[in-house]
């Protein structure tokens, strides 16, 4: 199993929550102090470098017009990390290609990072969460179709080396695609796609890309991985799907004592409790499938994650499988239980910083995990193990 340190680069110094409508989209940036922000960037970059020193890989992502993630141009931070680090794999998860107008530009950015990092890029693509469509002015209808056309065009731009080709598709038009530089890794960097629905996962499985799912917990993760495997098999990729095709993103805090771990875990919950977003930003038209829309209009609330903002506690989050927290033994056992429940996965994407979790606390959490949990995970869950229900894995 590979573990990845992930930080959203949040800016937590906000007015009282009742004073604003939404932490995303509309919160005025007068609430952002660039001097504090600069110090935060330094700090978060340092934490990624410490994770590398501890043998943990690096992951970052991108959101827009939000205090929860002040990284609206992840490729820029990736460029900095490519020079600040030497050995860690660099995972961007991901490029919001349904909201980017020029996929070829994305192909260029990623190829450049791959060369700068001498082949350490792991390139993720995401559709983008619903509240990204307003900052991008991006039509929420037909986003999946745009995402897939963009991804296929990017992979083609990476792998085509004989001068210009043209692309006249449904959403994107290019007459002369011939990117420089080309990728360091051949034929191209590993591709990751995040989706939290079985339908999406099945399509990812047909391509054999790495499938990541975020905070889907005990409730939904197994179905997503099953759908991935079904897609993989239907596409004729073989019967066995190695766990290193599957990734799971969680909140995680390990401490030497239960008390330390609990204190860190409580602070990590900011990631969930701070996410104040009104329904009209959460559910733009066309983003959700029709059946889900019917339930919403009838007054249902959709928990994006297996524990929701209103009821988030450390215990509930652990119970739901979206957080692993405790002493190294406790964290290992929690992960093992979850691993067995969902049928295995090869990448643990760790939200290791959020909100007011200070630098020292973040570093202590990274080190405790890296030194006392990670070695056991590597031993217990080898990268090339076969994923699936326990019986299938034993037979394989």
């Amino acid at each position: 199993m590979k573990a990845w340190h992930f930080s959203e680069n949040a800016y937590p110094y906000l007015p009282p929550e009742q004073d604003y409508e939404s932490i995303r989209v509309t919160l005025p940036n007068r609430n952002y102090d660039p001097k504090l922000g600069a110090a935060l960037y330094d700090r978060f970059l340092d934490e990624w470098c410490i994770a590398e020193d501890e043998g943990v890989e690096i992951m970052l992502n991108e959101h827009h017009q939000t205090a929860t993630c002040v990284d609206p141009a992840a490729p820029i931070v990736l460029g900095a990390l490519a020079r600040l680090t030497k050995k860690a794999r660099l995972l961007i998860l991901g490029n919001p290609v349904a909201n980017r107008r020029q996929p070829v530009r994305v192909a260029e950015e990623m190829a450049m990072v791959d060369v700068l990092s001498k082949g350490r890029l792991e390139c993720g693509f995401v559709r983008g969460v619903p509240y990204e469509v307003l900052p991008a002015n991006s039509n929420p209808v037909r986003m999946n179709e745009r995402q897939w056309e963009a991804m296929d065009l990017i992979v083609k731009a990476w792998t085509h080396h004989d001068g210009p080709f043209s692309h006249e598709g449904r959403f994107f038009h290019h007459r002369n695609v011939n990117i420089w530089p080309r990728c360091y890794q051949q034929p191209h960097p590993p591709v990751w796609v995040s989706t939290t629905s079985p339908g999406g996962a099945k399509r990812v499985g047909t391509r054999g890309y790495v499938q990541a799912t975020f905070l889907t917990g005990y409730r939904e993760t197994a179905a997503i991985y099953n759908a991935y495997r079904a897609g993989w098999r239907e596409a004729g990729r073989g019967q066995d799907i190695p766990v290193n095709r599957l990734a799971y993103a969680c909140l995680l805090y390990a401490g030497d004592t239960e008390q330390q771990a609990r204190a860190g875990a409580e602070k990590l919950l900011w990631y969930m409790t701070s996410n104040k977003v009104p329904p009209h930003f959460q559910y733009p038209p066309g983003y959700l499938p029709p059946a889900a829309q019917v339930n919403l209009i009838r007054g249902a609330t959709l928990d994006q994650h297996a524990a929701n903002r209103g009821n988030a506690t450390v215990d509930r989050a652990i119970e739901a499988g979206i957080m692993f927290a405790g002493t190294p033994d406790q964290v290992f056992l929690q992960i093992k239980k979850f691993y067995d429940h969902v049928g295995g996965f090869g990448h643990l994407l760790i939200m290791g910083q959020a909100g007011f979790l200070e630098h020292d606390e973040t570093v202590a959490g990274i080190r405790c995990f890296a030194r006392n949990v990670y070695p056991r995970l590597k031993d217990a869950f080898p990268d090339l193990a076969i994923s699936g229900p326990e019986k299938e894995r034993v037979v394989a």
Binding site: V141, F281, G286, P290, Q293, I297, R298
Partner: protein, 264 residues
């Protein structure tokens, strides 16, 4: 409106199965619905149908009309409805459109001006005439549902949908109508930048109607819109919002009938 033509083979245009309603008899009116879709019990259409043959299609992606992958603009829909007129053998009609249906109607009237004896635009969107740094139409995709309700209606409580009384199919249709609206009106928001440079082609006498409490389409917006059409006049309906044909069906129908008759 029980007299549904759709069914059997349906009306299929460019691969799209169009849901089509028809009422009354006599000289033909093509009525183009707004973002809410066709209302089966629309009193406004019934009032027109006492004197006219009223033809009411559901736009592609609205109601039960299908939506092909290639269709994504009001301009596309305008071409479909022009072909619908061909299919029905109608050389000339009176054209009425409300809200986004008004936008479709305006596009049609610039393409084949001679086919329309009269044009009635009720709270239409479709042009951008205001400053770059201010939306001509408030962003209905970025506001709470309750605020939108207040911008839409003079009496918002009276027209709040009773979700409990609706079937899943009806709710799914509401959601789909809204999705199609986003598809065709998201960007540029609620307008076609080219339309204002084409409206000089409209030859039909044109009536703009606005509910005086309309929170989406302002009086200034319609005044500027009307100035782009050679022979246009404006009228206001009291105690009505964005859908005066719904909130004040009698008054609105009377104004429309007077306009159609007076200039015939």
């Amino acid at each position: 409106m029980n007299d549904v033509i759709h069914g059997g083979d349906g009306v299929t245009i460019a691969g799209i199965e169009l849901e089509l309603f028809e009422r009354g008899g006599g000289s033909p009116i093509l009525f183009l619905h707004g973002a809410g879709g066709v209302r089966p019990d629309d009193p406004f259409v019934d009032l027109l149908a006492q004197r006219y043959r009223v033809i009411v299609p559901s736009h592609p992606g609205f109601g039960k009309s299908t939506l092909p992958d290639w269709l994504d603009s009001v301009d596309d829909i305008a071409h479909i409805h022009l072909e619908l007129l061909d299919r029905l053998g109608l050389r000339q009609v009176d054209l009425i459109g409300t809200s986004v249906g008004g936008w479709i109607a305006a596009e049609m009237a610039t393409k084949t001006p001679e086919r329309f004896a009269h044009l009635v635009l009720i709270g239409p969107v479709g042009v951008k005439t205001g400053p770059v740094d201010r939306l001509d139409v408030p962003d209905m995709f970025a506001m709470p549902q309750d605020k939108l309700q207040r911008l839409l209606y003079h009496d918002p409580d009276k027209f709040r949908p009773d979700v409990k009384a609706l079937s899943d199919e009806q709710i799914a249709t509401m959601a789909r109508n809204r999705e199609t609206l986003a598809l065709i009106a998201w960007e540029p928001y609620m307008h076609n930048p080219k339309l204002k440079h084409r409206l000089h082609r409209v030859s039909a006498p044109t009536l703009f109607l606005r509910g005086e409490s309309d929170g989406l389409v302002s009086a200034e917006y319609l005044e500027r819109y009307a100035r782009l059409i050679p022979n246009a006049r404006l009228a206001t309906i009291g105690q009505a919002g964005h859908a005066p044909q719904l909130e004040q069906a009698q008054v609105t129908a009377a104004k429309v009938l007077e306009f159609l008759g007076a200039t015939r």
